[in-house]
């Protein structure tokens, strides 16, 4: 606190302080490493996989892991390693973009509600509560049944339904900020509402939003995979973890690898994201009780 030159020097470092803080924690560093590995695989998979993901080889049907097929073959004789490496591409793409949608609308609407009058706020929140009471998967299936399963449908639908919980969390964080004197000071100064929101409010809820985004991402991944498992997500023959688990499930006792491999891949990515959001929450101080003068 007393060293006057330190803050200036710190600002010019390569990585921002909060990011270095995330990396200095085991959960943050391990989580980020897992995510980076997954993203790299997803990007490079078409170039590095040993086989065509759709190629069927009758000799490899239910094959045990071997030198040719490291993770064996599935019920159609397709290479499990190839399909597992490729299987995250659609899931990651859809979940990332849908998370973006969720954070954007959830964050903005949450902040808006904190500034809106009591009536609008109450009415909107009761509606959010009502929607949250409906199992999300029913909600999504309803739309998918009507509109089809393309990415253009899944991304907005997933984004909107997962954004509901972001609205709640961000609204709560924003309500805490709204009562503070610097917001009142800005109003007394005659600032426009947009300036108050962007200049005064947003920086103070960004922490909460970042942690919430990471958590939503992991839920979204699980959600999309569940949809695929049920046949509402990725369409065959696209290799997809959820779809692979569904396809190979019936022969699991005979040939476990076609189920285990995508399961391990999916869980490891979800664990990685959860570790990162944990590290993020600790670094940003969102998990701790907010210190505020009573």
């Amino acid at each position: 606190m007393t060293a006057p030159a330190a803050p200036l020097a710190r600002r010019r470092r390569l990585l921002p302080a909060w990011f270095r803080d995330v990396l200095s924690r085991p959960s943050g560093a391990i989580g980020l490493a897992i995510i980076v590995v997954h993203l790299t695989i997803a990007l490079l998979a078409p170039a590095i996989v040993p086989y065509d993901f759709a190629a069927q080889d009758s000799k490899a049907m239910f094959a045990e892991p071997s030198a040719q097929h490291w993770l064996g073959g599935d019920h159609l004789g397709r290479d499990v390693l190839t399909r597992t490496l490729m299987g995250g591409r659609e899931a990651i793409l859809v979940s990332t973009m849908a998370t973006g949608v969720a954070v954007l609308w959830g964050g903005l609407f949450g902040i808006f509600l904190a500034f809106a009058g009591r009536f609008v706020d109450e009415a909107s929140m009761r509606m959010v509560d009502a929607l949250l009471a409906i199992p999300w998967i029913l909600f999504v299936m309803l739309f998918v049944a009507g509109l089809g399963t393309g990415m253009g449908v899944l991304i907005p639908i997933l984004g909107i339904s997962y954004g509901l919980s972001i609205v709640r969390v961000v609204r709560a964080a924003a309500l805490d900020v709204v009562t503070r004197d610097f917001i009142l000071a800005a109003r007394a100064r005659g600032e426009r509402r947009s300036v108050v929101i962007i200049h005064e409010m947003l920086p103070n809820v960004l922490d909460t939003l970042a942690v919430q985004a990471a958590m939503t991402w992991s839920w979204m991944l699980l959600g999309f995979s569940s949809l695929s498992f049920l046949g509402f997500g990725a369409t065959p023959p696209t290799p997809d973890w959820g779809l692979m688990i569904a396809d190979a499930r019936s022969a699991m006792m005979v040939s476990p690898w076609p189920v285990l491999a995508p399961m391990i891949a999916l869980s490891s990515l979800i664990i990685g994201i959860n570790l990162l959001s944990d590290g993020l929450a600790k670094a940003l101080g969102v998990d701790r009780m907010k210190k505020s003068a009573v």
């Binding site: 606190m1 007393t2 006057p4 803050p7 200036l8 600002r11 503070r180 004197d181 610097f182 009142l184 000071a185 800005a186 109003r187 007394a188 100064r189 005659g190 600032e191 200049h199 005064e200 920086p203 103070n204 960004l206 505020s292 003068a293 009573v294």
Partner: protein, 668 residues
């Protein structure tokens, strides 16, 4: 001679934590003290000097992350930190009791008051249920709360802050402890309530011979309550002795600085700040820890840590204590002379009322019968060019609400507020023209809340410059440097975040932000109540200087009459939303006319023992009252039948001095 061992003794006690760099940072460092039975000791010092840590150590507790690294703490000869946990538990609450700072938070909200006091008795005594029931009532009665049986059935939130604090005292006294620890026992309470709690503690301690240790940032509280005083600085005791000696003839330069920084009402002295701030824990200077801020520092001070050595009436840790010039209490303020004629009013507040209208469901449909309660009712005053007007009252008197009304943040239910040129301030902020907004600026109570923690000082100061003066880029940069210089901060502060500043520095930035608008009027809402006394003095001086040099008028709201007296030219006293007295600062504080002002003035505690305190009217509990008539009559020692019938008018008694009381004779 005394045969019993001391109640509590600390012997070269060191409590600290290990820093990331692996060094030991001592919060309490080499403290020795001993306390005899029935004696009360006050611990004084700025925040962060180790007072609270030491207090907790006296009941064998170290805060999480802290450990006793050296020395010992003995209660009646037995070392507290070597005692088994079970034995400590039996001791705490029974032999050693504590009154926490904020009783409202220390009481369990879901248990009735009686049940909570009963718990102490059940745990520490063998009394049966019927006896305990009786005892609970006795205790509530002993802390002078009305109708004990009924009160025991209430929940904590149904009690006022002062009543909660008394329940905390009752719980501490439940099993007649020999040592009572008080952590800021009256902080946050109104002055009149504070005085009542202190009187009660003093009386109870005298009756039962309980020894007390009291931590307080308010030297006035210590002067009123304690026989002995220890002044702490950066984890060490720098001066100790009897209150009569230490508070009247302080020897250590720090103790002197601390006493000089306190605004005094009755002697009316200008507070002087102590420059600089305490060293950071873990980065202590090698020699005397006060050397960096001391006016009398010499080479030896920087090299060698002074031990605590005995001097007349106590002990002092200063190499040159004997060579220092004799201490002089800050001199008296000259009575402020009023030159009424040449003062132009800049603000006229006329007969305003502000309501806390919270329309319920029934009101919306016109079914509610009750009128909304008036937080401010019929207040009129003028603010003159370049003057500081103090607005004083207890919590809930409506003083902050008036400020919000002037700032346009609360709508007026009645009346008008105008600037000198006739600009209407009855409009809300959203309706006011930008130039009118510029001319009235607010400074808030707590700079932690009023400065955006995510914005640098540069960004914070840039907004008013951009909005009101259209300044940006280099021109704004130049102006910001000037503004920071005006509040005695360097240009290097521009790129810091508020969290990298101390409390006093943050408040300076908040003041700079207000002055960035080039205002005519500054509204200050308890601007020093979140700060240490030594810092408070510098903020008060700064505000007074800035207002005087720029001809800016200022309304200073405070619950502390002494603070207002130090800077204000005129003082207005509020009670329950009504002005009851307004006049020149010296007249209002030295010769108050309204019974409520008399009570307020009487309840102010001066940082010197033995000064008379007028307890009479203050100790009167609210009774009667009700709508109609004078709102103060329920507590007034001089109430007449007439007071219940009609609200008195506020009438002039002297030029520039008006009082709202039936019993005061007016000039007319």
């Amino acid at each position: 001679m005394e045969t019993r061992p001391d109640v509590i003794a600390a012997d070269d006690l060191q409590i600290g934590f290990v820093t990331r760099a692996g060094e030991l940072a001592a919060i309490v460092d080499g403290v020795s003290l001993s306390l005899r039975h029935g004696v009360s000791l006050g611990l004084a010092g700025e925040s962060g000097c180790g007072k609270s840590t030491l207090l907790l150590a006296l009941m064998g507790h170290a805060k999480a992350g802290l450990a006793v690294t050296h020395g010992a703490c003995r209660f009646e000869g037995r070392s507290l930190f070597e005692m088994p946990e079970a034995e400590l538990d039996a001791l705490r609450g029974k032999r050693i009791a504590m009154v926490p700072q904020n009783a409202g938070q220390a009481l369990t909200p879901t248990l009735r008051i009686g049940a909570q006091i009963d718990e102490v008795l059940r745990f520490h005594t063998d009394l049966g249920p019927a006896e305990r029931h009786e005892r609970v009532r006795d205790l509530i009665d002993r802390v002078q709360l009305p109708s004990p049986a009924e009160l025991a059935r209430r929940y904590p939130h149904e009690l006022s802050g002062g009543q909660q604090q008394r329940i905390a005292v009752a719980m501490a006294l439940a099993v007649d402890p020999v040592l009572l620890l008080l952590d800021e026992p009256t902080t946050g309470l109104d002055v009149t309530t504070q005085l009542r709690i202190l009187e009660l503690l003093r009386e109870l301690a005298d009756q039962s011979g309980t020894a007390m240790v009291c931590v307080s940032h308010d030297i006035g509280v210590i002067a009123r309550l304690c026989d002995e005083v220890a002044v702490m600085y950066a984890g060490r005791i720098v001066e100790t002795g009897s209150a009569d000696e230490v508070l009247v003839r302080p020897k250590h330069p720090y103790a002197r600085g601390l006493l000089a920084s306190i605004p005094r009402l009755k002697t009316g002295a200008v507070p002087e700040p102590i420059p600089g701030r305490p060293p950071t824990m873990g980065r202590m200077p090698q020699g005397c820890r006060f050397a960096l801020r001391c006016d009398h520092v010499r080479d030896r001070c920087r090299a060698e840590m002074p031990p605590l050595w005995p001097m007349a009436g106590g002990a002092v840790a200063c190499h040159f204590a004997e060579e220092l010039p004799p201490w002089q209490r800050p001199h008296d303020l000259a009575a402020t002379v009023l030159a009424a004629a040449d003062r132009q009013p800049v603000l006229r507040v006329e007969d305003i009322a502000i309501t806390y209208a919270r329309p319920g469901l029934f009101d919306r449909f016109g079914l509610g019968g009750t009128a909304p309660s008036r937080a401010v009712d019929g207040v009129s005053f003028t603010l003159e060019h370049g003057e500081v007007l103090g607005l004083v009252g207890e919590s809930g008197s409506g003083k902050s609400t008036i400020l919000r009304g002037i700032a346009g943040l609360w709508p007026l239910a009645q009346g008008t507020i105008r600037l000198a040129d006739g600009s209407d301030l009855s409009l809300s902020v959203d309706e006011r023209p930008r130039d009118v907004l510029r001319r009235v600026q607010l400074v808030f109570q707590n700079p932690d809340a009023s400065l955006n923690p995510r914005r640098t000082i540069r960004e914070i100061l840039a907004r008013p410059l951009a909005i009101y003066h259209g300044l940006s880029g280099e021109a704004a940069g130049v102006r910001m440097a000037e503004l920071l210089a005006d509040v005695r901060l360097g240009e290097d502060y521009l790129d810091r975040l508020p969290s990298q500043l101390s409390g006093g520095e943050k408040q300076r930035v908040a003041i700079a932000r207000a002055f960035a608008a080039d205002p005519e009027i500054i509204l200050c809402d308890e601007v020093t109540s979140a700060l240490d006394v030594s810092v408070q003095a510098s903020i008060l001086n700064l505000l007074a200087d800035l207002c005087a040099s720029r001809g800016v008028a200022c309304i200073m709201v405070s619950h502390d009459l002494a603070v207002v007296r130090a800077v204000a030219r005129r003082i207005a006293v509020l009670y329950r939303g009504r002005l009851c007295e307004i006049g020149p600062a010296a007249e209002v504080t030295l010769a108050p006319r309204h019974p409520y002002t008399c009570a307020l003035v009487g309840a102010v505690l001066e940082p010197e023992p033995g000064l008379p305190v007028e307890t009479g009217p203050v100790l009167i509990e609210e009774r009667g009252g009700g709508p109609g008539g004078c709102s103060f009559r329920g507590r007034c020692p001089r109430a007449l039948p007439r007071c219940a019938e009609a609200v008195p008018d506020i009438l002039p008694v002297d030029p520039g001095h008006a009082v709202r009381c039936h019993r005061v004779e007016t000039v007319a």
